[in-house]
């Protein structure tokens, strides 16, 4: 099933606001996030992703220092039902996978992009990711977006319900 949410609408849905008004009560209701967290690293495309998301959502940030990944493990302590979003490197993604796996969750990749991605495209990715998370909470599928040719180290946008 395809979806066509406006940016603001989709982000509100991802945050749970208004969700009950548009969807029937189902097991998906349990996935409505009370808290939204964005994994981010200063000076990276992920920080831009955080800023775009922050424009429409009340979020908390999980900050990673460059090449110091231990802070990712704070995911273990996030409240149950939280939504986790981000645009991260391959290494960060591997560790987020591991931490989310420990919470019996699963990381859903929404796109894999070249590291030279522009600011405007990062905004689109933030939208896309929130829409995908929202679709997921209603039991709908959302197609991933991949760059056909990635010439530099890649970045991965994702969401995960904890």
């Amino acid at each position: 099933m395809s979806m066509d949410f406006s940016r603001r609408q989709s982000l509100k849905l991802a945050a749970g606001a208004g969700l009950l008004a548009v969807m029937p009560l189902s097991s998906a209701t349990a996935l409505v996030p009370e808290h939204v967290y964005v994994v981010t690293r200063e000076g990276s495309a992920g920080a831009d992703f955080e800023q775009y998301t922050k424009e429409s959502l009340e979020i908390s940030s999980i900050r990673i220092e460059r090449n110091n990944y231990d802070s990712i493990l704070t995911i273990a302590n996030l409240p149950k039902g939280s939504l986790l979003l981000g645009l991260v490197s391959e290494a960060e993604k591997v560790l987020i996978d591991a931490a989310v796996y420990d919470r019996r969750g699963f990381v859903h990749m929404t796109a894999r992009k070249d590291a030279s991605i522009s600011g405007a495209r990062i905004g689109e990715l933030a939208d896309l990711t929130a829409q995908a998370a929202s679709a997921r909470s209603q039991g709908m599928a959302f197609e991933k977006a991949h760059d056909p040719e990635i010439t530099k180290a890649s970045l991965i946008s994702f969401y995960a319900y904890l």
């Binding site: 990944y69 391959e90 989310v100 796996y101 991949h146």
Partner: protein, 513 residues
């Protein structure tokens, strides 16, 4: 009847459905996983293999030995194979996935009790789900001055899982199975065996004397499928009064010969008592920078690009990390011996005075004093694409062997367009050569090429007598074959004796009934 994605071989949907109901009665519905969503994380593997070949039928999360026994009983009744995992973080060896399709993952993370730590004897008894971080937190909270010896994925992984898979850490207690003492194992008939002194009722020496009486059995429960290890005794290193980390750098790839020849006598004599790491520039740099910043051409990275990276990062072609432990006086004496031994060999010797604040040195120093750090995960940024397979041949700690292994590995990796991202770990008299075959798993052609490359590495190294000490779930049969038919036959006979229906982890280390 539930719609199952993958059924165990020879088990009908109805039988599996009945088994699932019985599992749920043991561990509760919330600890039985059969939906595609819930099983996805157990099928997320980084190795160059088709994930479908390793897809699970289900996963179960028991919380006690009694629940494991009951699960094994149901498996026996329906002939359902179970694949035990401790924390499932065996990244370059296959993560939490099974060697064959259609097994039920026995996820032991909920069994996470630290049963005992004896501060005076320096021992611990832990369950499979305990992580290094959990154990370290316990030691700190209770002000117990004992060190752990975690592997590079450190805080995430299980001491029991690492020891049972014969993994290594970087302190003087680096060979984690060597420094284990006593196991509890649930056998395929549901009985519980305690090895060593643990079989004797009221024994007080289960965690202090390894051998017990009669044949010593611990080894047959490592890298095997003869039982489910549910407890492990560990020896923990007393925190020394002082510790000194240092690095010795050699400029050229061919210097691996000199590096090993110079370090070996110091290692065997225990002047340097820890598991020494000799890291190649691409292992060191690969965790710091990304490949495309230095090279965007075809094939393996060029020598010129590696030289630029080494220059930028101040690294040698080979970087030997080692530590000294003891009193300040002992360390001062041994430091003189180390410096004198390496003087005139063309090496640069650096310590904390030269490298204060250097993140790579800090990372290695942390590992050598048993602390947690995830820095090495930066390697996954090097090439991108999330593919990783650890090739791990062992050889004598002899310079000529190290050099020959490096040359062969570079030749084969180059043929397939991959980089030589490698390190040697000098355990005592042997060198574990760890090569991280990094590739883009989102690219089917590259994944297939990585598979063929791994296959050729295995074939060529084996023909020269260099066996793998450990391998990933897709290559377990092939590695088993390299150790010859008699070894495989004996492994199988033990399997048939202890697990006649083959319900515990079929395919582990190439062992089937």
């Amino acid at each position: 009847m539930a719609d199952f994605n993958v059924l165990p071989d020879g088990v009908s949907a109805e039988q599996f459905g009945n088994a699932i109901e019985e599992y749920a009665a043991i561990v509760g519905d919330e600890n039985v996983f059969v939906s595609a969503d819930n099983l996805a994380s157990y099928n997320k593997i980084m190795i160059p293999a088709d994930n479908a070949d390793h897809a699970p039928s289900g996963a179960l999360a028991p919380a006690s030995v009694e629940e494991v026994q009951a699960i094994i009983g149901v498996c026996d009744k329906y002939t359902i194979p179970v694949w035990p995992v401790s924390t499932g973080k065996n990244f370059g060896y296959g993560s939490a996935a099974a060697a064959t399709r259609g097994q039920v993952i026995l996820d032991l993370r909920r069994m996470n009790k630290i049963i005992e730590v004896d501060a005076e004897l320096g021992t611990a008894l832990v369950e499979p789900g305990v992580t290094y971080q959990q154990l370290k937190d316990y030691l700190e909270e209770n002000n117990i001055p004992l060190w752990l010896s975690p592997p590079a994925p450190s805080s995430l992984v299980s001491p029991l899982g690492n020891a049972v898979d014969r993994g290594v850490g970087y302190t003087p207690y680096g060979d984690n199975f060597f420094f284990s003492c006593g196991m509890e194992v649930v056998l395929a008939n549901g009985e519980v065996l305690r090895t060593g002194m643990g079989s004797m009722p009221n024994s007080t020496s289960w965690q202090v004397f390894k051998w017990g009486y009669g044949p010593s059995l611990d080894g047959i429960f490592t890298q095997s499928n003869y039982g489910v290890v549910t407890k492990l005794g560990m020896w923990l290193m007393p925190q020394p009064p002082a510790f000194k980390a240092f690095v010795i750098r050699y400029p050229d790839d061919a210097d691996i010969e000199k590096a090993i020849e110079t370090i070996r006598p110091l290692r065997i004599a225990q002047i340097i008592p820890n598991a020494v790491v000799i890291a190649h520039a691409l292992w060191e740099g690969g965790a710091e920078v990304v490949r495309s910043d230095y090279y965007q051409g075809e094939g393996s990275i060029s020598d010129e690009a590696v030289e630029r990276m080494k220059s930028d990062l101040g690294m040698g072609a080979w970087n030997i990390y080692a530590g000294l432990y003891g009193t300040p006086e002992q360390i001062a004496l041994n430091w003189d011996i180390v410096r004198n031994t390496f003087a005139g060999t063309g090496a640069i010797i650096q310590d904390e005075n030269d490298l204060a604040g250097n993140p790579t040195f800090d990372y290695r120093a942390k590992l050598m004093r048993g602390e947690m750090t995830l820095k090495e995960f930066g390697l996954y940024n090097w090439r991108g694409g999330g593919g990783s397979a650890w090739f791990a041949p062992v050889a004598q700690a002899r310079g000529s062997e190290g050099l020959a292994q490096m040359e062969l590995a570079k030749e084969i990796l180059g043929k397939y367009g991959f980089d030589y991202v490698a390190e040697y770990i000098v355990g005592w008299r042997e060198g574990h050569h760890i090569i991280d075959l990094l590739f883009d798993k989102t690219n089917a052609e590259e994944t297939e090429r990585a598979n063929q490359c791994f296959d050729e590495l295995l074939r060529e190294f084996s023909e020269r007598g260099w066996g793998s000490y450990r391998t990933n779930i897709a290559f377990m049969d092939k590695v088993a074959n390299t150790f010859g038919p008699v070894k495989r036959d004996v492994d199988q006979k033990i399997k048939r004796a202890l697990d006649p229906k083959g319900i515990i982890a079929p395919g582990k280390s190439g062992i089937y009934i």
